[in-house]
Every structure is written in structure tokens, then in C-alpha cells.
């Protein structure tokens, strides 16, 4: 039987790690909701941001904070370039074309990471200070990461619903031709949205790298989690992604406590399948 303290610990750990999952999912969700492209390079971008932070802080000896900030911003720049190289030409085409071209982009990243770093697990040099909630240890960096993740998700919500750019984005989602006629530069909106999606992915990746070790393949697990959360939280909805992420995080942590750690990922898949069947539009409203 699970004691109340352990339950509280599991809930807290789930909340903390789940908000990071939510931020990662937000990157996938925004691109899917706005460009109608399922970005299969999502996991690779998450992994890439981890290694950018690693390269700068460990191999080049930059201060950790600077490395983290650069690796976060790197996602945005990469997104702007990748949009023109891999996404622009397949927009509006068959779904399979965009799935394949973004997957190809992901393989290029993955191949580069494997070439440079191999399969050995790496970590960032971070303080290991922990707090303990109900016998479940939670690292301080995770708490900081969770706070940042929640702040970014709220900022994304404000960006989409409270700014001129957000209005242009919503106009493009509703009707591209009409938006273009009203003077919205559709290509630019789509390009920036893609870059924004990669920015959220790289932010989540960098923050996750602070608390967990990683290999080039690590990203693929977060990619599957992101799919689950997007389906759970609804497309393009920042707060939906955040809440979906927290639900998944808690479900995963509680499963690890009740059963064993290796069953954790199965929760995500089962949750995903159940959600797809009962409510594929997600728990929360669309963008």
C-alpha cells in the first residue's frame, strides 16, 4: 500500500517533471497547430539542445548560465533556418511529405550527435542539492526548471492571445488566404512559429539536461511523451500542454512508485491510446 507521504512525494515529483514535459510538448503542439506539420525532428532538437549546453559548458568551459542561455536561444535560430530547408516546400502537400522531411532533419541532427559524442551518457555540472518531499528526493534544479517552464508556458499563452503577432498567427490558422489579403506576411508568421516551436523544444531540452543524464537517443522518449501530451492537452493550446504534461508526469511518477521504474513509459503510451480513442481533440479547446 502506498503511504500518504509517498503519494504526496509522487505528486510533487510528477508536477515538477511534468511541467518540463509540458514545455517540450508545447514546442510540438505549436508547430502542429499552426503549420499543420507533425514535427518528427522534435526529439532530435531536444537532444541537440542538451549537447549544445554540454559542449559549451563542459568542453569549452563557458559559465553554466551562459551555456544554458545560448543553448536555449540556439533552438530559435535553428528553427528559422530549418523552416526554409525542410518545411516550407512540403507545406500544404501530403501529410507524409512533411512527416518524412522533418524526420530526415531529425536524422541529420541525430547522426551528427552520434558522430561527435557517441552513445555514452553525459551530464551537466550542476549542484546536486535536493529537497525531500514525502521520502521522494527532488533536485533543486528541477524545481527551478519547473518554475521556468511554467513561466514560459504562460508567456507563450500571452504571446498568442494578447499580442499583434498572436493575432496574426490565429488569423493564419483560420484562413491563410484571408490572412494574406489582410496584410499578414504568412510565410514569416509560419517561419517564426516553427522557430518558436523549436525554441520551446530547446528550452525544455536544456532544462531537462540540468537534471537528467542524456544520450543522443534520449530525445526520442521525450518526443513520444510530447505526442501524448499534445493529444491530451489539445493542439496549439499552451496551457493545455502544460496541464497535459503535469498529468503525464504525475501518472508516470505514481506508476514508478506503485510498480517499478521501467513500467513508467508504458503509462504514456496507454494514456495516449486511450485519449486518442475517447477524445482525439484533447481535453482543452483548440487554438
Amino acid at each position: 500500500m502506498v503511504s500518504p507521504e509517498l503519494l504526496l512525494g509522487g505528486l510533487t515529483a510528477g508536477l515538477v517533471v511534468g511541467s518540463l514535459y509540458g514545455l517540450a510538448a508545447l514546442g510540438l503542439s505549436i508547430i502542429w497547430g499552426i503549420l499543420r506539420v507533425v514535427n518528427l525532428s522534435h526529439g532530435a532538437v531536444i537532444a541537440l539542445s542538451m549537447y549544445v549546453a554540454y559542449l559549451l559548458s563542459v568542453e569549452y568551459g563557458y559559465p553554466l548560465l551562459a551555456s544554458v542561455l545560448i543553448s536555449i536561444f540556439f533552438g530559435f535560430v535553428l528553427g528559422m533556418v530549418a523552416y526554409y530547408l525542410f518545411v516550407h516546400k512540403v507545406l500544404g502537400g501530403p501529410e507524409l511529405a512533411s512527416l518524412l522531411s522533418t524526420f530526415g532533419f531529425g536524422l541529420i541532427i541525430l547522426g551528427t550527435l552520434q558522430l561527435k559524442f557517441g552513445g555514452i551518457a553525459r551530464t551537466l555540472p550542476v549542484t546536486t542539492a535536493t529537497i525531500e518531499v514525502g521520502h521522494v528526493p527532488i533536485r533543486m534544479v528541477q524545481v527551478v526548471g519547473a518554475v521556468i517552464a511554467i513561466a514560459v508556458a504562460i508567456a507563450a499563452y500571452l504571446l498568442i492571445y494578447r499580442t499583434w503577432f498572436g493575432r496574426a498567427v490565429r488569423a493564419v490558422v483560420m484562413n491563410q488566404e484571408a490572412a494574406a489579403l489582410m496584410g499578414v506576411n504568412v510565410t514569416k508568421v509560419l517561419m517564426l512559429s516553427f522557430a518558436l516551436g523549436l525554441l520551446f523544444a530547446s528550452t525544455a531540452g536544456t532544462l531537462l539536461a540540468l537534471s537528467y543524464s542524456f544520450t543522443p537517443e534520449t530525445g526520442s522518449m521525450y518526443e513520444l511523451y510530447s505526442f501524448t501530451i499534445v493529444v491530451l492537452g489539445g493542439l496549439g493550446n499552451p496551457l493545455g500542454s502544460l496541464i497535459g504534461g503535469i498529468i503525464l508526469g504525475i501518472a508516470e511518477q505514481l506508476t514508478s512508485i506503485v510498480a517499478s521504474g521501467s513500467w513508467g513509459p508504458l503509462v504514456a503510451f496507454v494514456l495516449l491510446l486511450v485519449m486518442l480513442v475517447i477524445k482525439p481533440t484533447g481535453l482543452f479547446a483548440k487554438l
Partner: protein, 338 residues
């Protein structure tokens, strides 16, 4: 007159496809027989074994992705289910490979039916993602259940192979040859299934679903029945191949049998050849296999990068595949290439 001409061209096309398919099977058989008598052909036997594993998934995938338009991203799950079913029967009950293959196909079909009840409600990217989840979930289940060997997998003892003989070889010596011929049989089954789908009213219904599912429903295609049957049939070739490979390697491992990469390779091959064509499956799988083996030997560390660039380039510049492109370019080829 025009209609009569088209019918005669279509007939000619079917005739040519029959010859191509028969020639491929005869060539594969010939090489297998040759390799028994000449050790210098052993390399080709092994590389063709790898090729046929890919082709088996491609032939299954072509039915659901090519003809029906459902992007199954996790199609290798049926390879895994086939492999694990066969291994459980061989390991715990000493069943021979031939019966194990049949059981593998039946279990995979039943699984496809049950999984289809869930995933075939979904369309487009949602279906694609659900199939990835099914694949990954199967892997996690295989890793965590002791009966299936957990992450260590199940391994057959060498003594299991005592009863197998072929052309003077026996036991473990015979396995490579027998496995090769069983894969040729698998490919034959897969090609026949694709020919059937390509030429039947059933296949016409699947194409209607691919073009517009709601319209297909409206004109009286029982879309649910059609796509379920397509999904069930598409599980057969990969399941048979999975059983053969489990037997040949003597071991099943979760990561190797529930392998997303194999699924992706199959999608690329289908795309490369031209989805929804019979000859396209052969062209796509052969091209992919040739490119992969040559890159792997000449640029082992760069292959993922080159791979990725190639996939993106195909998606952006050749979305119909080689056969699709040829058919689009020439009215004559449109009818001749099936």
C-alpha cells in the same frame, strides 16, 4: 475505342508486372540454391536475407499505407509480434519453425484486428502517432514480462536445431539456407497479397478510402470493413519474416524486434518506389537496401546524416516515388507500371 485501348494497355501492364514478380522470385530462389553449392555466394545470401526482411515489412506496409493511405509509422510491430510468437512456441513447446510461422501470422492478424479497433478510428497524423505508440508499448511490455524473456530476450539452445536438414547440411549448419528459402516464401506471399489488392474490387475500395474516405463511405464502400481487412492483411508478411528471423538468430530481443528504425526504413522504401504500386515496393526496397549497404560500408559514421538528407530530399522533390514519377511523366508508362 479509347476505352478498349486503355483496357489492352492495362492488360499488358499486368502481364509485365507478373513477369517482373515471377522473375524476382525465380532469381531469389536461384541464388539460394546456388549458395548451397558455392560458398562464394554466401555474402549475397546474407545481404539478400536482410533485404527480404525489409521487403516483407514494405509489402505489408504498402497495403495499408500505399493503397489505403493510412501512414502506419510503427509497422515493424508485426515483425516483432511474429518473432515473439514464434519464439515462445519454439522455446516453451518445441514447435517447429513451419508451424511457428503459421501461428505467428495468425497471432499478428488477430492483433492487427484488435489494435485496428482502436487505431483505425483515427486518421492522418493521429493514426501515425498511435501506431508509434503501439510499437513502443509492445517493446516496453516485452522488456518487462519475464515469460517473454524481459530485456535479456529468449534464446533457443543449439540442441533445438537438431531436426533440421537441407541438401546434406543439418542442425545449425542448415539454418541459414532454410531461413533464406522461408523468407523467399514470405516474399512470395507478400507479393501475391499486393497483386491481389492491386487488381481486386477490394483494392479499388481501398484506393477510394485513400482519395477521400467520406466520399468512399457515401458511395457505399464499407470503409470500416475494408480498412480493417487491409490492416489485418498488412500484418502477414512482416509477421512471417519476424518468425524466420527469430529462428535464424536463435534469440529475440525487445529493441531489435520492436524496432522503430525498421518501420521508418519501410516507409522510406514505399515512398521511394512509389506508394500503392507493386513494382514500386521492389524498386523502393532494393534501392534503399543498396544505398544503405553501400553507405554503411564506405561511410559508416556518416550514414545517418546522409540518410536524413536523402529522406528529406525525397519528401521535398520526389513525393510520388520513382514509379509514381515515371507514371506521371509518360501516359504509356501510366498503364504499364502497376
Amino acid at each position: 475505342m479509347e476505352a478498349a485501348r486503355i483496357v489492352s494497355e492495362l492488360r499488358k501492364g499486368r502481364y509485365i508486372t507478373n513477369i517482373i514478380v515471377a522473375a524476382v522470385i525465380v532469381l531469389l530462389l536461384g541464388l539460394g540454391i546456388g549458395s548451397i553449392y558455392s560458398e562464394s555466394l554466401a555474402y549475397y545470401r546474407e545481404t539478400l536475407t536482410t533485404f527480404m526482411v525489409l521487403l516483407s515489412v514494405v509489402l505489408g506496409l504498402n497495403i495499408i499505407l500505399g493503397y489505403t493511405g493510412y501512414v502506419s509509422f510503427g509497422h515493424a510491430v508485426f515483425f516483432g509480434i511474429g518473432g515473439y510468437t514464434a519464439m515462445v512456441l519454439m522455446y516453451y513447446y518445441g514447435v517447429n519453425i513451419y508451424l511457428a510461422m503459421i501461428a505467428a501470422a495468425l497471432v499478428a492478424m488477430a492483433t492487427a484486428y484488435l489494435v485496428g479497433l482502436i487505431v483505425l478510428r483515427l486518421r492522418g497524423a493521429y493514426f501515425a502517432i498511435a501506431t508509434i505508440a503501439v510499437l513502443e508499448a509492445s517493446r516496453v511490455i516485452a522488456e518487462n514480462i519475464n515469460y517473454l524473456g524481459g530485456s535479456e530476450g529468449l534464446q533457443l539452445p543449439a540442441t533445438y536445431y537438431r531436426g533440421y536438414h537441407i541438401a546434406g547440411y543439418s542442425g545449425l549448419m542448415a539454418v541459414h539456407y532454410i531461413a533464406y528459402f522461408l523468407l523467399v516464401a514470405t516474399i512470395t506471399v507478400g507479393l501475391l497479397l499486393n497483386l491481389y489488392v492491386s487488381r481486386s474490387k477490394f483494392g479499388a475500395g481501398l484506393r477510394a478510402i485513400r482519395e477521400d474516405e467520406d466520399a468512399a463511405e457515401a458511395i457505399g464502400v464499407d470503409t470500416w470493413k475494408y480498412k480493417t481487412l487491409a490492416y489485418v492483411l498488412s500484418a502477414i508478411p512482416p509477421a512471417l519474416a519476424g518468425a524466420v528471423i527469430a529462428w535464424k538468430r536463435m534469440i529475440v530481443l525487445p529493441g531489435e524486434f520492436f524496432n522503430l528504425e525498421l518501420s521508418i526504413k519501410a516507409i522510406i522504401s514505399v515512398m521511394l518506389g512509389g506508394s500503392g504500386t507493386v513494382t514500386g515496393t521492389l524498386v523502393g526496397a532494393a534501392t534503399y537496401h543498396a544505398v544503405e549497404t553501400s553507405f554503411l560500408t564506405s561511410f559508416p559514421s556518416f550514414h545517418l546524416i546522409i540518410f536524413g538528407a536523402a529522406i528529406a530530399a525525397i519528401a521535398e522533390f520526389l513525393p510520388m516515388g520513382v514509379i509514381g514519377w515515371l507514371r506521371l511523366r509518360s501516359a504509356k508508362l501510366r498503364f504499364l507500371l502497376e
